[in-house]
Each structure stands twice: as structure tokens, then as C-alpha cells.
Amino acid sequence: MSRQVLTNVYRLLHKAILLGALYACIGGGWLAHSAEPGEEEVEAAFLYRFAGYVEWPAEALSAPLFTIAVLGADGVAQDLQQMLPEHQLKNHPAQLRRIRRIEDLGNAQILFVGPQYNDELRRIIAQVADRPVLIVTASDHGLEAGSCVNFLLIDRRLRFEVSTIAAEHAGLKISAELLSVAVRVQGHGTGVPLATGGLR
């Protein structure tokens, strides 16, 4: 190999190393941005997870399927659709129900109200009030409006707050473990011990 070729190879490698260093600095390059999940993916994962930390009255679980209803929030519904079919929740096969009106809630055990419905939260929640449904919202006034669990985006992390009062009204028991992760808890008590088999 001529000296010229070797020099060129050396220069190229040098550039490549610099490029690699730069690439590492800016965190993995232009297209790798999606390596971090979006808010909706994490919301979907939480919705799926919550079931394991909540106890429903027996009659609320009498249907053959465990249903998570999503009002609006198409992105969250899409992500849930990917994870639900493979899993069981509360010993029932899990299913997703996408709805556009609260009247179509059916016998779902969990309801997620998409943020585009935030300005009518009180009305929506009133229509579900006193039924054994875990109402989850993503609003600045979620707990005020009567939801059980409310997502908050804080410094690029998705956190949540819990109202055990709303849960009591719905006849649900929230586990201490869920409460310990919440940024704040509104209501009485420190939660019930995790029920056996709750995680699956």
C-alpha cells in the first residue's frame, strides 16, 4: 500500500473517531431520538400496570375479560393494543376498548380519559361516579374533578397522584405500593397490602 493510501485511511479513521465522539456526545444521533419513549407509551404502560395494584369488588370482575377503556387518546390506545393481548390482568384475558363517548364505557374496569376531554372532566367523571371503575386522567385538575389517578409530566418524567377518596367512592382498594410511588396522595389511610397474585 502506498504511503498516500495509508495517510488517507488514517485521516478517515481519525474523522470517524471524531464523528463517533460527537455522536456519543449528542446522544446517539438524529434518528435515535425515539430510543426514549414518548409520554403516551409510558401512560399506556402505567395503565396496564395499575391493575396489579388495585382491588376491585368481586362483582366488577365477573365478566370473562378485563377491560381497559380509553376515551380519545389514540396514541395511548395504540400502545395499549400492543401490550394487552399477550397478558392477563386479574386472572382474566385483557382487552382494550376504544371509545369516543363516555356512554360507551360498558363494564370496563379501568377508564383512561384522554387530555383532549379535560375541559369536560367533571361531567364525564360524574357519569361514571360510584361504579367500580378506576378513573385515570392526565389533567391539571384531575383529582379535583374526581379521578382516582392523575398523570403529571414533571421534568420529563411521567408521575401520578392518587385520590383514595375517589377510589373508596368507586369501591376500589389501592395498594400501599402504588401510593408509595405517587407524588401525592389525597385521602385516608396508607393503602391496602398488595393482594396475592395482584401483579398478573
Partner: protein, 638 residues
């Protein structure tokens, strides 16, 4: 070099494919394997989707989110407000701004100081009751602790409070349970140096708190001949917030105190001092809640000796109750009482007679929103406001929204708004030497508007949404300057002899061009058709109602270049000002943010980047505002 370009391709392909692989491994199903605690710690791509519009709100609302604020490159609330397309923001000098919505953004020559907006900080009114305008230099917050800013254009007095004739700016800070830990932020640039720090933690079993301090210096602008406008200023501010969450109650205490010094052209400095303390208690039972809020606000401003000043103390108590009646009716009612106790130190050329007063402002209101069928909601509100000079006024408000499902939401509103008389309208005396040339008018009445608005919001595809809102406003009793009498024209006095109509439209949208790139275009246009009533002097012309641009447009771009690199830019066009005239201008603000480590973000930002200097309001009231470049760091140790 053909060979080497192939090699380049190969080199590039490795990280690209590894990036793509990374996408697959963090797909939704894998997240579902994480524990609750792990999920709560997952770092989320910031601004990865269009912000959801408030779908059914029957008002022209624009929400500036926390992310928008911290990524904008703005360092003050006034600069952040430029992000709201339904607002016009005009910087006069380093410390003064005027804000307008649907016009009426002020005209300095006629001493019309942009006086028809309500600005609230966590429920505390911050417009000055002395003249209904806003001292922008008193409204500063640590931007990292601001949760969002809701900008509502159109009359909002029925629900929001006094002086919301053209709109409401509602600034909301984060509850202290959302701001735990340490945050230190600093920036240094040619126009400005700023530093701030906050610490938050738990307070017992049920509570949390934060304390913060901030300080900045903003350098002087220039005059037309590029000598210093001598308007630089500095301010220090500190404050706290504590929140308790009890089973059925939420309690908040918060307060701030500040002191600032402002250079003035051709004279000594002005000093601003202020402090406030607010408490809010919310009690919830069943499907109703009761909120009681009280605050004290002290605001002082002292010019150089002989230049006048004031001390204003405000005491405010408000009660509000929400009732849900069945599932179809939402009733809100409330009442409030405010005392403004002020003492003015009169200047030689600007006097208030009397120089001190105790003014009380009271109100009672109710609003009922009823759902009719599945898609229609009707809201009817009525407020009675008792202002100190003109007595009781009724402010009715009717709003309807119609949900067309995937085809969007249509809304319409009709409302009345007023700007009530202030000491500046009633008690003022302005002098040149011994000659009194302008006086307030004890018969001055409220400026009034009847507003008719329409709006349409739609999200035609998952990656695009837009909102368009035309309006038609009818005005009466707008402030004018009138002669004393035909025999003795001086002193002049304020009158209420202008009326007419304005109409316009504001629109904005969000386009998620790519997963990592959002574009937000906006525009607004305004036509004014005002006239003097019979008997009016016509002094200073119709332009005195506000030196407003006929059009504004903006384009904001938000990019997540990589998980660690963000780039935001905001281009704004402001049409020409009519009277006094000023050509249209276009300016650009941008910020590059680099998350060096989990605890440290560095940034490079620039304001007004397109030209070395630009004017937003004609001299002498407006200065030449310089290009600003700043490097910043934000440190959040865990």
C-alpha cells in the same frame, strides 16, 4: 474520493441502524415489564407530540406549556407571552412592555397604557388598580417553576375577575409537591445576566414546600442615534410556596418579595419594591367543592426626588363553589371583595387629588353549564361587579359549544366586558409649570365592550390540529381627551366620547412534521372601525385607542434532534403600527439545549437575532432593542 464516501456511508450506517434497533427494544410492550417505580423514572422525549388542544373550551384559549416556556429561550414572563398568538406583546424599553389582545395594546402619546387586560399569578391579580395597566417589571417568576400560562382573548370578566375587558392572562406555578429537589439556573449574555435557585422538599407527612431566589440585570437599550437609552435595570426576588394535601382539603401558602432598581434617561433611578402573601383552601365533599382564597399584596414604586411614586396595599378575599348537579349541570358561583389602599407621592407635573384613597371592589357571580344531548353544552354566566367609581355593573356571558366528533368542535360566545374607572381617569392632574392642562373626570364612566366570538377547532389527522376564532366587538364610552369649555379650553379632561367596532380573526395550528419535529404556525388580523361621538374634541385622533398592528404572524419550530439535544426557534412578524407610525418588523428567537448529563443542561440562546437593533414602538416611548445572545446552564442534582 469515491472510496471514502462509501466508507462514510458505512460509518454512518452503523449508528443509524443501532438507533433504529433501539427504537424496537423500547417499544410499548417492553415498558410494560417495568415496575411502577421504574416507569416513574423513565425519561420521556420532551415535546414528542402536539399538545392536545382544550377541545371543547368555548373561548379563545391558548396555553403556553411548561415545556414551551423552558425551551423558548425567553428569560422573563413578558418575553414568554410572545408565544401566545392571541396576544400582542410590545417591548418599549428594557423594563417596560405593553400587552394587548384583539387590539387596545396602548398608545403612549395619549397616556393610554394598555389597560384592558387582567393578569393573574396563581389567582392574584397583578394589574395596577391605579390605571388598570400592568407594570411588566413587577411580574417575574422563576420560569422553571411556572406550570403553564393560559391566555384567553375576549371578555372574561364574568368568571375570571375585574378588568378582563379584552382578555385574561392566567399564570399558574407548579404546586410544591411537583418541585422537590434543588435547581440552579444561570445565564450570561450581552444583554442580560440572570441567576436563580430553588430548593423543595417534603414538609411532614402531608405537605411539601419550596423556596427560591433569583436575580438579574438587563442592560440598557439604545436610542435612535445609538447612544445608550439608559434604561438598564436590576432586580432581586425571593419567595416560597407550601402545599398540604389532606383527605378532603388542600391548603396552599405562597409569597414573593422583590426589589428592583431601574435607570431612567436623564434622571435618577426608579426603585420598585413589592411583596405578597396568598393562601388558598379548597375543601371537597362529594361532588362539590368550596375554595376560599385570600391575599395581601404590597406594591411600591419611587421615582427620583420630585418624580413621584406610590405605595399600594391590596387585600383580597374570594370564595368560589363548584356544584355538579346530576351529570348534566355544572354550577359555579362565587363572591369576592378587594380593598386597594394607596398613597401617592405627587410629582410636580403629575398629581392625584386626593393623593390617597381606599377603594373597594366587590363582585358576585354564577355560571351554569348545561349539557344538552351528547354534543351540545350551553354556559350562562352573570356577574355583578361593584367598582368604586361607577357602582354596580352587570356582566352577562353566554357560551355554547357543539361537539362534531371527528369533524371538530364549534363554539360561540357573546359577552360584555368593562374597564372600570381608575384614579388615573378620575383624580389625575397634569401640569406644565403652574398650568394645569389635563384633569381627571369625576363623571368618567366605564369603557364598555359587547363581544361576539366564534371558534372552530379540529384535529383532522393525528399529526395536525388547528384553531380559528373570528370575533366582532362593539365598543362604547372609550376614553378620549376633551376641552374644558369653549370659553376656556384648558384644562383638558378625560371623556368617554369614542365608540365603534373592531373585527378580526386569530388562528393557530400544530403540525407534527416528524416524530421529533413540531411546527406551530399562527396569524391574527385586526380591523378597527372607531369613531368619535357627537361633541368630542377629536384631539389626538382615533389612534389614541391603541397603536395596534393590523396583522401578526408567527412560526415556532420545536425539534428533539437527539435525546440530549433540543433546538427551538420562533419567528414572529408584527405588522406596521399606524399612529404613531412604525414599519413592520420580523424577529427571531432561538435556543439550543444540550443535556450534557442527567443533572446538567447547557444552552445557547438568542433573542431578536435578525438585526443588531429593532424598534417595537416609536421613540421616544420605545427604545432600540438590541440582539441578545446568552449561554446558560441548568443544574438539577438529584
Amino acid at each position: 474520493m469515491r472510496g471514502s464516501s462509501k466508507l462514510w456511508c458505512a460509518l454512518l450506517a452503523v449508528p443509524l441502524t443501532s438507533g433504529a434497533w433501539a427504537v424496537d427494544t423500547t417499544a410499548a410492550e417492553d415498558l410494560s415489564r417495568l415496575s411502577l417505580q421504574e416507569l416513574a423514572n423513565v425519561q420521556i422525549t420532551s415535546v414528542s407530540k402536539s399538545p392536545e388542544p382544550l377541545r371543547r373550551a368555548p373561548a379563545n384559549v391558548y396555553v403556553i406549556t411548561h415545556d414551551d416556556i423552558v425551551r423558548s429561550g425567553a428569560t422573563s414572563i413578558a418575553e414568554v407571552l410572545r408565544l401566545a398568538p392571541n396576544l400582542q406583546v410590545t417591548q418599549l424599553t428594557a423594563s417596560s412592555y405593553q400587552f394587548g389582545a384583539g387590539g387596545f395594546g396602548g398608545q403612549q402619546q395619549a397616556q393610554n397604557f394598555a389597560n384592558k387586560l387582567l393578569i393573574l399569578v396563581d389567582g392574584r391579580s397583578v394589574y395596577s388598580p391605579l390605571y388598570s395597566g400592568v407594570y411588566a417589571d413587577t411580574v417575574d417568576l422563576m420560569l422553571e417553576d411556572v406550570d403553564r400560562i393560559e391566555v384567553i382573548s375576549g371578555p372574561g370578566g364574568t368568571l375570571w375577575g375585574a378588568n378582563a375587558m379584552q382578555g385574561v392572562i392566567n399564570i399558574i406555578t407548579r404546586a410544591s409537591y411537583l418541585t422537590r429537589g434543588t435547581l440552579v439556573s444561570a445565564g450570561a449574555g450581552n444583554e442580560e445576566q440572570i441567576g436563580s435557585a430553588r430548593y423543595g422538599d417534603k414538609l411532614g407527612q402531608d405537605g411539601s414546600f419550596r423556596v427560591y431566589g433569583m436575580s438579574f440585570h438587563r442592560g440598557a437599550d439604545e436610542t435612535a442615534d445609538h447612544s445608550s437609552a439608559h434604561d438598564g435595570w436590576s432586580k432581586g426576588q425571593g419567595g416560597f410556596r407550601a402545599d398540604w394535601t389532606l383527605p378532603e382539603d388542600e391548603i396552599t401558602f405562597q409569597g414573593d418579595a422583590y426589589r428592583g432598581t431601574e435607570n431612567q434617561p436623564g434622571t435618577l433611578d426608579t426603585t420598585i419594591v413589592g411583596a405578597n402573601l396568598l393562601t388558598r383552601w379548597r375543601h371537597q365533599w362529594g361532588r362539590a367543592d368550596l375554595q376560599v382564597q385570600a391575599y395581601y399584596d404590597d406594591s411600591e414604586r419611587y421615582g427620583p426626588a420630585g418624580g413621584g411614586g406610590f405605595l399600594l396595599r391590596t387585600y383580597d378575599l374570594e370564595v368560589q363553589q363548584n356544584w355538579l348537579i346530576g351529570s348534566l349541570q355544572h354550577l359555579v358561583w362565587g363572591a369576592g371583595e378587594r380593598l386597594n389602599d394607596y398613597e401617592i407621592t405627587n410629582a410636580q407635573s403629575l398629581l392625584f387629588v386626593p393623593a390617597s384613597r381606599k377603594l373597594t371592589l366587590g363582585d358576585v357571580f354564577a355560571q351554569d353549564t348545561v349539557s344538552i344531548g351528547k354534543s351540545v353544552q350551553v354556559g350562562l354566566g352573570l356577574k355583578f361587579e361593584d367598582d368604586p367609581y361607577s357602582g354596580w355593573t352587570a356582566l352577562p356571558d353566554l357560551r355554547v359549544s357543539w361537539d362534531l366528533g371527528a369533524a371538530g368542535v364549534l363554539w360561540a360566545a357573546a359577552a360584555k366586558g368593562v374597564r372600570s374607572p381608575t384614579p388615573f381617569d378620575v383624580d389625575v392632574q397634569e401640569k406644565i409649570g403652574p398650568l394645569v392642562y389635563l384633569t381627571g373626570n369625576p363623571g368618567f364612566t366605564a369603557e364598555r365592550v359587547k363581544s361576539y366570538e366564534l371558534g372552530y377547532r379540529v384535529q383532522p389527522a393525528s399529526f395536525v390540529s388547528f384553531s380559528i376564532s373570528p370575533y366582532y366587538n362593539v365598543y362604547d364610552d372609550l376614553r378620549t381627551i376633551e376641552f374644558g369649555s369653549t370659553a376656556d379650553p384648558l384644562p383638558l379632561h378625560w371623556g368617554n366620547l369614542m365608540s365603534g367596532a373592531t373585527y378580526g380573526v386569530s388562528a393557530w395550528g400544530n403540525i407534527q412534521v416528524m416524530d421529533w419535529w413540531r411546527l406551530s404556525p399562527s396569524f391574527s388580523v385586526l380591523h378597527k372601525n372607531l369613531r368619535f361621538d357627537a361633541g368630542a374634541s377629536g384631539i389626538l385622533g382615533l389612534g389614541q385607542a391603541g397603536d395596534d398592528p393590523r396583522s401578526q404572524a408567527g412560526l415556532t419550530s420545536s425539534m428533539n434532534i437527539s435525546p440530549k439535544l433540543t433546538f427551538d426557534a420562533s419567528l414572529r412578524y408584527v405588522g406596521s403600527l399606524p399612529d404613531p407610525g412604525l414599519p413592520a418588523y420580523t424577529e427571531l428567537t432561538a435556543r439550543l439545549g444540550w443535556q450534557v448529563a442527567r443533572t446538567l443542561e447547557l444552552s445557547l440562546s438568542g433573542t431578536n437575532l435578525l438585526r443588531a437593533y429593532h424598534e417595537e414602538y416609536p421613540a421616544p416611548a420605545g427604545a432600540e432593542i438590541g440582539r441578545g445572545v446568552m449561554v446558560g446552564a441548568r443544574w438539577t442534582p438529584q
